[in-house]
Structure formats: C-alpha cells, structure tokens
Symmetry: C2
C-alpha cells in the first residue's frame, strides 16, 4: 500500500547518514539546526521537524545508525569462528581503521559526541553512555569466553583486562583526533594484546 500525500523531496536514509557524520564530527551541542538543515540539502524547518521530530530524536537515530555500522564491534567480538584473542585483535584493528579513516570523521562518535553536555541534554549523554556500555559488555563476554574454553588464564584478571582494553579503545578516539597515525596505533594495539602472553 503506497503512502498517500505529497512525497518527501529528499532521501531520509541518506539524510540520517549525513546527519550522523555531522554529529560525529562536531558533537551533539555544536551541531546546530541550521548546520543540519543546510547539510541535509537545504531543507526547511517544517520539513526537518516533520521528518525527524526533534534534534534529539535525530541524534538518537544517528547514534543507532553509527552503532549498527561504523561503530559496530559486537559482531566481531561474538564471532565464534575466532579465538578470543583473535576476536579482540580483530575488534581493535577494525576500530582503529574506522577511527583513523579519512572517509569519515576521526575518532569514535559514541565517545566524542556525548560526553560533555549541558544539564538539559543529560539524556543525550546517557544515550552515548549506554552505547559505550554495550561495547564494554561485549569485550567482557569475549574475554569470559576465552577463559571458559581454557584459551585465557583463569587468574582473576579478566575484569581488569576488560577495562584495560576498553580504556585503550576509548583513548583511541582522542588520539585519532590528535592526529596520531593509524600505523602507530595498530602497533600499540598489538603491544597491548601481548599482556595475554604472560
């Protein structure tokens, strides 16, 4: 059943992707409605609000889009065809590749776009925080899997290693923004994994 009424003049999906890149690059608060409207093809306020509801609602959509594409690490971590160590390494490499890619903003949207906020945007900060927690939990699960199948030492260091990896991962967002090269970060990631060699 086709939709009745006048058809939308822009592609909503690609608009969300463009908005995602804007929020990713500038953060939630520094991205203004007029930024968004002009980037998404010069649409009017009426069109914007009819299509997306509000700036916050669009941000939420963009963050979900990000976590389902560029920021997607969970699938790698859960890939049972890889050993835990291979999965962790693949996750780090994938993340570094995306964070340092020139085809998208530097760094990680979930880290950069919603840590520091005005009080009345606390809900935006919480969305980003939840997104970060999803990744942290997936890292913990991956390590637990390695411990369970005997691949990793069962010496009580699993929680610490989760945080070590996760902190490093989040630091990458800043390093990428600061212009540290992909190659240097990759070497650093491999060195970090050598913790498992003891």
């Amino acid at each position: 059943m086709a939709r009745t009424g006048r058809p939308r003049e822009f592609d909503r999906e690609s608009a969300v992707r463009q908005a995602m890149n804007l929020f990713w690059a500038k953060g939630f608060e520094s991205t203004s409605l007029s930024d968004l409207k002009s980037t998404l093809g010069g649409l009017s306020s009426a069109s914007f609000y009819a299509a997306f509801g509000s700036k916050k609602a669009l941000y939420e959509e963009c963050l979900a889009e990000y976590m389902g594409t560029c920021g997607e690490l969970v699938a790698t971590l859960r890939d049972e065809s890889l050993s835990a160590r291979e999965a962790l390494r693949a996750m780090l490499w994938r993340s570094i590749e995306i964070q340092t890619s020139r085809d998208s903003p530097l760094g990680c949207m979930a880290v950069l776009s919603g840590i520091v906020c005005d009080d009345d945007n606390a809900d935006v900060a919480e969305l980003a925080r939840n997104a970060r927690k999803v990744n942290r939990d997936a890292i913990a699960d991956c390590i637990a899997r390695g411990v369970a199948n005997g691949e990793l030492a069962d010496d009580g260091s699993a929680e610490a290693f989760t945080l070590t990896l996760d902190s490093f991962l989040k630091g990458l967002a800043v390093q990428s923004r600061d212009g540290i090269s992909r190659e240097a970060l990759l070497r650093s990631a491999d060195q970090l994994l050598s913790i498992l060699d003891r």
Copy 2:
C-alpha cells in the same frame, strides 16, 4: 606600590579555580557566561570582562591552572629519584586518583573540555590539544630515560608503549565519567604496566 582605583570585590584566584571546575565539568561550549557569572559569586558582565577579558581568555587561564595543579603529571614523570617504571606507575595512579575523586569533576579537563567544538572555537580545541601533547611528550621522555639507562628493553617498542600508555590515560577520562571505580582502574593500570615484564 599598591594598585590605584576601586578594589575588586571578589577574589580573582579563587574565581579562576571555580571557573576551572565549571569548564572541567561541562566543557567550554556548554559553560555559558551566565553559568560563570553566577558561579563566581553573581558578578556582573562588566566585572567579568574587566577581570578576564573574554570567555576564551578565561578558559585559557583555567586550562593553565588545571595543567599546573590537578592535571600536573610532568613533574612525576621527570622525577629522577624514581625508576622509569616507578615514575610511570606513580603518574598513572595520580591521574586515576584525581580523575575519580569526588572533590572535583570526574575525568580529565584536557580531554573532556575541548575535543569537540564549533568551528569558531577551533582555537579552544587547539589549546586543549597542546595540553595533551605536553603529557604525551613527557611520557615519551620518561620511557626514553628508562631505555637510556638500561632499565627498559631497547627493542624499538618505546614509541608504541608511549601510545599505549597515553591512549589508556585518555580513555580513563571517559571511564571515570562512566562511573568505573577507582579500584578497578588502578588494577587495570597495574596490569598495563606488566607489559614491561616480558
């Protein structure tokens, strides 16, 4: 020679410290002039601009204050009475203590307050970036010192280790904001240093 003219009615030094806490907690852009004026004792616009020049100038002062006090890690790293490893460990512990302290905002001001910015606040972002670089260079120097005196292996991994530590350190800012406990982060930091035990 005493200053002439009507004396200022507030303590400029303590005002800078209070402003530092505000910028630290909320970032540069989310901290508004009215936030600042009311927090610094309800002073007027005239008094604010007479004392500090502009919002950006005050931010610069606050960042310098931060780097000279709470964010001060360079002195620890250069402490020649400590071995390189001891210095690195002391630096990490000090940083975690401050970033997770309840007596000041969570996380690191140099990381949180100036990564994501509007285009016309690019100079603010650069101030914060320079502050971060100071710490990174100090870490590199400390590791170089350890290599030079034979304490650390001279196997070409120094640059990677600098980045590994520095990325972890910056990730701490996010973890602290996300409510990760001090104790867990300290365990994680010690695990990270075990890279040196190979």
